[in-house]
Each structure stands twice: as C-alpha cells, then as structure tokens.
C-alpha cells in the first residue's frame, strides 16, 4: 500500500511516521510537501505531529489553510483514510474535517508521558483490527490536547460513535485521574461521521517497537493496512 505523510513546515513527527510505516509496517511511504496541491495515487494519508507553522495563531490553524489541505479534504470526502496524530489531529479539527476543538491542557503545561486509552469504536479503518474496550498504552506529548465540543455536538458525536478513544487507567476505567489534559469525557480521539478520518492526541508511532517500551501503537497502523488490503469499503455521504 502507498501511504502519504504530509510534511508541514514545523512537522516534527513526519520522519517518525515514515520510519514506522516503512520500516516497521512495511508499506510504501511518500512524503507529501505541504505546498503541493494533489495527492497522487495514495491509499491513505497521515498528518503527523509537531508544531506546523509554529502553531502560531492556534495549534493547527495556519496548517489547515496550507495548499495541500483541499486535496486532503477531497481525499477524505471520497472515503480515503486520513489519520491525524497530535498536531495532525489539531490540523484536522481546524480544517473542519473532524468535530470539536482543542484548548490548552488543564494546568496549562505541556505533558509528555505514557497514558492508557480505551478503544471505544472499531468502525474506523484504524481500529477495525482492535477490540472495543481494548486498552492501548501510548505516549502523549502536547500542550493543547484538551478536547472541547459544545454539549449538543458532544451528544451528536457520542450517538454517532465518533468517539474512538478515551483516556483510561491501566484497567480500562475511564476516570478523571486518567485524564491527562482535561479533555471533555476523556476524549483522546474522534473520527468523522463516515469513520474514515481519525484524529488522536497520543502518538502511536512512538509505541510501535518493542525497544521503545510498547507496541500498542503498531496495531493502529496494522489495522489500517489490513483494511486497505481487504478493500473494506468506507461509506461515503
């Protein structure tokens, strides 16, 4: 499969994503420069973490308007799988490809540590290979990962099963103590109504090899590849 990793000025995790997709998951990977306007022959697109455009204005705000984004939008609306990790998630929120917004972490400080998240929905290509209720151990590294959505929108995305991951403890219990940043309802990841666009704050690419302490992140990429290989159709509309 051919997977594109978008490189914005200020992306920090682009090389990490390329490494994991190419060397660990064994896929064909292309770096997509933010200044391009087309995504050629890609099966999936990853928006990596970092500080795109320095996160000036708001995290992800400037990147959401970069030349490549209309092509990402078109790819997403045609059912193509799009994964936004950390800053990539923020970009997808700012671009309106995912519902809700990010505000500064509760406590205002950057947080870099390992957390647990629970799989809430297996309807996305990135989680189809996982079990509902499965607990993943992944690192977070962000200052603005406090997920917010107005009450009505929260209800809508809960009903539509768009909440894909929630922060939890090692036993899978969703508790206030397990919430590292103040996200509403411990939300760590959400998807588009069709499920083909996913954003999450933790970094699966930093937990895809035994030597780094956890391989739980790898299952997210493996799930994507399995879906692509099986040509699982994504509902459009």
């Amino acid at each position: 499969m051919r997977i594109g990793v978008v490189v914005f000025p200020g992306s920090n995790c682009d090389r990490d994503c390329v490494h994991v997709l190419r060397d660990v998951v064994g896929q064909d990977v292309v770096e997509v420069w933010h200044g391009e306007t087309a995504l050629e022959d890609l099966d999936a697109v990853v928006l990596p973490g970092g500080f795109a455009y320095g996160d000036y204005l708001r995290a992800g705000a400037v990147a959401a308007t970069s030349p490549i984004m209309p092509a990402v939008r078109a790819f997403a609306s045609s059912g193509g799988p799009v994964l936004g990790i950390c800053n990539g998630f923020q970009v997808l929120l700012e671009a309106g490809l995912l519902p809700g917004a990010m505000v500064r972490n509760r406590g205002l400080l950057f947080q870099c540590r390992t957390v647990h998240i629970r799989v809430e929905s297996t309807r996305t290509p990135f989680t189809r290979g996982l079990r509902e209720g499965q607990v993943l151990r992944l690192p977070i590294a962000h200052g603005e990962g406090n997920y917010y959505a107005p009450a009505a929108l929260l209800e809508t995305i809960e009903e539509a099963q768009q909440v894909v991951f929630r922060y939890c403890d090692a036993g899978g219990r969703v508790t206030p103590e397990a919430n590292p940043n103040g996200s509403l309802r411990n939300i760590a990841g959400v998807c588009s109504p069709q499920g083909n666009v996913l954003g999450l704050m933790p970094h699966p690419e930093r937990a895809a090899e035994e030597i780094l302490g956890s391989v739980d992140g790898r299952w997210i990429f493996e799930s994507l590849v399995a879906c692509l290989e099986a040509r699982v159709p994504v509902p459009v509309g």
Partner: protein, 739 residues
C-alpha cells in the same frame, strides 16, 4: 546607517588600556570606532576565553575515535560504520538570570545550531540546571521560567530532551546556571566544519533577519550581575523562535546535501562579526561582508548593530559560487531568507563595507584570537576549616533522614519537570528521564547499537574541594553510563565559575580543570570541547565552582540496557564495590544536619574502572535486571529509588560500619547496586572475582515496604521500615514547585 560612531572610551566596551595598546600594536594603527566596538565584543571573556585558554590546554583531547576536538562549534567522535556523533554543552546563565524563559530558550537554540554546524542532525538535549533555594519566591519564578523556556523551545523544534539534572544551593540565588547539552548524528562523509576557504566562494547569510535584540550579549555574559541587571540588561537577551530554528535545521541539512557548502557557523554570541572573523581566521583567508545586503528586521540599524546583533536562528555559510543557487533554493523552500552578503578573498583581511564605503578592515585573527592571560591563583585558606566535620551530630532517626533526603530537591523526582519536555520525539528514546542513571537512545542506523548520555556536576563538592569535585563529576558520569552498559566515548564540559580576576576563584578554576584532566586521562577519553562561563556572581557573592560534565558512551546492544527499577520479586540486591561510605561532604550532613562540611572522598580511578567494567559486563551478559549508581544520599537512597521506580519493596541488611548513618547515607564513588535473579548470582560473582572487585549481597526485592538494617553485633533491630507509598510521597516533593 551611520558609518562613523562617536569616539569611544575603550573601558566603556570592556577593554583594558593594555588591551587597547595590543589592538594598536596588531593593527599598526588606531582602530576606528566601529572596529573598536568589534574588538570589545570579540575580546569579551565569553568569546575570547582570555582567562581560561591557557588553563584549558591541560585537558586531554586525544582519542583514535576523535574526528574533531576543541576549536570548532562542537566536538565529533566516530561511532563506527560511517557514523559519528557531534556534541557540545553551552551555558546561558546570565540571560537566564535576567529573563529566565527567553534566556533558557535561546540557550537551547544556540547549542542546537552549534551541533548543526557540524552537519549533524540534532537528536538529543540534556540540561544541567542550578537554582537557589526553592523556598525563595524569586528563585521559584526563575526556575519555572527556565523550565518553561526549555520546554517551549525544545518541544517545538522537535529535539527530545532526554535527560539532565537540577541541583539547588542558596549560592545560586542571584545567578542560576542553565547549561544545555546537544548531541547530533552525522555520517562521517557529511561532516561539516566552520573553516572558510576558497577565494571567490560566496558568503551566504541564511535564516532569520537581523534585529536589535541581544546586542552586546557576549559582553553582558562577561560581567557580574548586579541588582539592576534584571531591569537594565533585558535588551542584551535574545528572543528565540523555535519554529524558525526547526526550519533552519531542515533547510541546512538539505543545503549540506547539495555538496556546495564549504563551511558554516551559527551567528550566536557576537553575531555576524564573530561568525565571519572566526571562520576566516580558521581558514587563514579573508572575507568581505557587505552590510547593505544583510536581511534586516528593522530600519535604520547601524553597522555596529548589524555586526554585533545576536538575533537568533541565523547562520553564515561559505558556499561554492556555482552551488549558491541550489543552496539558497533549499532555504527558500523552507521559507527562509538566503542571501549572498560577501565573498571569500585570498588576502587574510576581514572587510566590512556598506555600498561603496569601507567601514572596517582587519586581519581576522586580530579579532578571533583574543589575548590570553595567566591570572593569579591563590588557595583559599578556609577550605581546611571546612574539611573538619568532628564532632559529628548524633546518629538518630534514620527513617526521617531517609524521607528528608528523598524530598530534598537534588534527589527528589524531577518528574514534574521532565514531563514538560518532549522526550520521546524522534523515536530513539529507550531509557527516558527518571528511568535510569543515563539516558539511552537507540540508533536504528546501527542497530542494535545505542548511545548513553549523562550530565553531572556537583558545585557543593567543588566548593569544598574543586579538584576532587571535578573528578567526582567525571566518575559519576562514567558510572551512569556503565549502568546502561555503555563504554565512555568522550566528554564535553561547561565550566561555571565566578570572577576569574579574583585569585581565589581562579584557584578553584585551575583545580577543577586539573581534576577534569586527570579524570579523563584515567578513563582514556578526550574532552572534545566545551564552554567556560565566568563572572557568575551576584551581590550575594560568587557561585560555587561548578564544572559540569556531559559524557557520551556507546552501547553494543541497546536491548540489554537495564533501568534502575527493581523488576521481580525475590531478586538478589547486590552491591558492586566497597561498602564503606563517607559522611564527609555528604548530602546527608547537608540536608539532615545543615552541615556543608567535610572533604569529599576522592576517586580511585583504577578501582573505578574495574567496578564499572563488572557492571558493564553484567549488563552485556543480560543478567542485570536493574542497575543503579549510588550517589547522593548513599546506599539507602539508591535502594529506595530503585524500589520506588519499580513499585517493588526490598529487605536489605547493610554491612556493619562505625556509624549507622554512614552505612545508610555515606557517599563514595565506585559503588553500584545491581539486582539479579537468583540463578544469575553466581555469574555476577564470577565477573566481580575476575576483576577483584568486592561484591556483597544486601538482600532481596519483594513486597511493598522498604526494610533496611545495618548489621551490628548488638540486639537485632530494623533501622528503616517504611511503606513504599511513604517513600513515593517524599520523593514527589518537587511536583508542587514545578506544576
């Protein structure tokens, strides 16, 4: 643009009458006002190493693996198979005192670009920080600002902060220390240097535009801080922009890939004039710089301001003319200016022009080679008094003493700090902060090889004996590396001292350098470069002499590197090394009894090497389940830390000692705790035996309490019996300060 400046008093720009005479002698004429200002900044202590250069010659810089020693922007060592590491430490003490957040942030940015100047991709940062007492609200504000600055810059630029240390001593109150280490990875055939060559080559300015920030920063760093510094010296502090810094990394690595870059250097301290004169001096050529071509952020900047500005995220490149377009294109692609501002000339003359006006014309060496002094040194007599620790206070309450030590800032968990730093970006971090004595990075390029990094220094010991204190810092670094199974490769040092013109301060400097030199010779590793920071004084007086040592080591198989945490119930806890600790200059005496006294025990490097080799071999053999160096707080603290980290209790009996507290809390180098499964014990003893290193089984892991007893002939008693939860609470004392 004003080419002429009012006549200057040399003293106003920090030059002595003798230095002014020397300038006249070297030029064979009077310098003009602009030239004089350039001398003022280039001959500052910060740029010129005037008071340290002669002493620094004592440091060893030989190794078969050394690719670049002192004199370049960073040292470089070969790690095999076509790869090398570039590393260096630098201080940003004065800026951090005045503006903690921006001062620390630009410290991070500056050292990253020094490593980048060698053609290396920066892959790791470590920080060594010193603050006054954290009970002082002003110190707390400084500390929080420094941490925020490091986090803000390091996180955004995408280089992980993988380790460091924070120590607290009231003597750093007015003058905190912020020393930042950066390490980069470079293919040996891509190694770059800062040596201008090739008449006709272009001088290219890349990165951010030049503004009025940080003018005279290097000179400011060469003065003592006073009460007004915070208010008056703000304009000497640069403002960093990590986003531009990140673009500069990517664009520069891309530009180096074109093969058209002959040399490059960061425009850091003393800005454009420093980069231009140093690169020209190294190459024995001349350089012409046309100021009217320099990209400016502000209108109406004078020649002096343009030349001395320390605006961040700028570099100066020497580029082959035919490649200039391709090199510039790499920067433009990343949205950065890249402009040819001059050219290399054969005649060794640094010329500064604006339009058709020549503003300065000097041989580059006259600026780049500041005079070297041999300051007077005199031994402070009071040291002898401070070495007396008799009569010692009563040995009582070991439980309270252990909890007090665990909660003391030097020992307590730095989690609240390092969780603010991205330490896992670049997917190399195998042992993260807090998990081991050294940071461990994997090298997928050379798998299963890896690197271990440690930064250490102990101003409190150095204040009591700078020679021994410096040796202890080197020994500690080497021990930390051994805990990860690493063989030391090389050292970079940051020497933080007070005013070198004070004979007692200079004596401590000379002693410390000599300690470093002897220690590195004993370990057969080079000092690949570093930094000297003098004039660390405030109205409270000078800081303790603080040599900071950062050591890099290579690990053959990173999969075997153990952490410091106890792993399995019933493992044997083994002490490798001599059991006896010393209370002199111990953290215990200072924290528990308020006594900052005693002569620090020295290092027997012959024994040290043998102890470290046993530990390293046990790691390589895959039998060490946890390894932890015994340092501050002695054996009791080391065992407690491994228990806390592993959430696993322990029951240990320490060998008898004249005093119970010296057994528990006494300190000495060359002692490491290794835990092994019962089945591996014989193998560990055999390793120790083969090297004639003493080993003793202290006890076993297990349960959720820490029990410690010092063996004695008297009735059986338990000296420490505490639940892990109590230890963890004490160890978490800093979380309130930094959150």
């Amino acid at each position: 643009m004003s080419p002429t400046l009012p006549r200057l008093d040399p003293a106003a720009i920090g030059l002595t009458p003798a230095e002014y005479e020397e300038i006249r002698r070297r030029l064979g004429r009077e310098p003009n006002a602009l030239e004089l200002r350039l001398f003022g900044v280039m001959w500052s202590e910060h740029c010129g190493y005037k008071h340290s250069r002669v002493t620094l010659r004592a440091l060893p810089a030989e190794s078969p693996r050394l690719l670049q020693g002192p004199g370049e922007n960073a040292g470089v060592m070969d790690i095999g198979d076509g790869w090398a590491v570039a590393f260096k430490v630098e201080s940003h003490n004065h800026p951090s005192a005045v503006d903690p957040c921006n001062g620390a942030a630009t410290g991070v940015g500056g050292i990253i670009r020094d490593v980048l100047s060698m053609g290396a991709r920066p892959i790791a940062l470590l920080d060594s920080l010193r603050f006054g007492s954290l009970d002082d609200p002003r110190v707390r504000r400084t500390a929080a600002g420094v941490v925020a600055g490091i986090a803000g810059y390091g996180n955004c630029i995408g280089v992980p902060t993988v380790g460091g240390e924070i120590l607290v001593d009231p003597r750093y109150r007015g003058n905190p220390l912020v020393n930042v280490v950066c390490l980069g990875l470079v293919r040996t055939d891509r190694l770059a240097r800062a040596r201008a060559s090739g008449p006709g080559n272009a001088v290219m300015y890349v990165g951010a535009r030049t503004g009025r920030d940080g003018i005279g920063g290097a000179a400011f760093a060469s003065e003592e801080l006073d009460e007004c510094s915070e208010r008056e010296d703000r304009s000497s502090v640069q403002i960093g922009d990590p986003f531009t810094g990140k673009l500069l990394i990517e664009a520069t690595l891309e530009a180096l890939g074109t093969g058209g870059v002959v040399a490059l250097q960061d425009m850091g301290a003393a800005g454009l004039i420093c980069a231009a004169s140093e690169m020209a001096a190294r190459g024995g050529v001349g350089v012409t710089v046309h100021l009217d071509r320099v990209p400016l952020r502000e209108q109406g900047m004078s020649a002096d301001e343009i030349l001395r500005s320390e605006s961040q995220e700028r570099m100066l490149l020497i580029v082959r003319p035919e490649a200039a377009e391709r090199v510039a294109a790499a920067y433009h692609r990343w949205g950065l200016p890249a402009t040819v501002v001059g050219e290399v000339v054969a005649e060794p003359e640094l010329r500064v022009t604006h339009g058709d006006r020549r503003l300065a014309s000097l041989p580059p060496y006259t600026l780049a080679d500041a005079p070297a002094y041999r300051p007077v040194a005199s031994e402070p007599q009071r040291l002898w008094d401070l070495w007396q620790i008799e009569p010692l206070p009563d040995d009582s309450g070991p439980q309270d003493a252990l909890l007090a030590l665990l909660a003391s800032p030097g020992i307590a968990s730095k989690r609240a700090v390092y969780e603010q730093y991205d330490h896992s970006v670049q997917v190399r971090t195998v042992i993260a902060p807090g998990a081991g004595d050294a940071a461990v990075l994997r090298l997928p390029e050379l798998a299963p090889k890896g690197l271990a990094l440690s930064v250490d220094g102990n101003g409190t010991l150095c204040a009591l004996d700078p020679y021994r204190g410096a040796r202890r810092a080197v020994a500690e670094c080497a021990a930390n590396l051994a805990c990860a199974g690493a063989v030391p490769l090389g050292v970079t040092d940051c020497l933080n001292f007070g005013n070198p013109e004070d004979p007692e301060v200079f004596w401590t400097f000379r002693q410390a350098v000599s300690g470093l030199a002897d220690a590195c010779r004993a370990l057969r590793i080079p000092v690949v470069g570093g930094n000297v920071s003098f004039y660390n004084e405030s109205p409270d007086g000078p800081i303790p002499p603080t040599p900071i040592v950062a050591m890099v080591g290579v690990i053959d198989d990173v999969r075997l590197s153990p952490r410091m945490s106890f792993r399995g119930e019933g493992d044997l806890i083994v002490l490798v090394g001599d059991p006896s600790g010393d209370l002199a200059a111990s953290t215990y005496l200072r924290v528990v009894h308020g006594l900052d006294r005693g002569r620090p025990p020295d290092v027997d490097f012959e024994l040290h090497q043998r102890v470290l080799s046993v530990v390293r071999e046990s790691v390589r053999a895959g039998i060490a389940r946890s390894v932890h160096d015994i340092s501050e707080g002695g054996m009791a603290v080391a065992v407690a830390e491994s228990a806390i980290a592993g959430a696993l209790g322990a029951d240990v009996v320490l060998p008898a000692a004249p005093r119970r507290d010296s057994a528990l809390f006494g300190e000495a180098p060359s002692r490491i705790i290794v835990s092994v499964g019962e089945e591996s014990a014989a193998a560990l003893f055999a390793l120790a035996d083969a090297s004639s290193v003493p080993v003793s089984v202290l006890g076993r892991t297990g349960g959720d309490r820490l029990r410690m007893t010092v063996a004695s002939a008297g009735p059986k008693r338990t000296d420490i019996d505490l639940p892990l939860e109590a230890l963890r609470r004490a160890y978490d004392a800093l979380s309130e300060v930094f959150r």
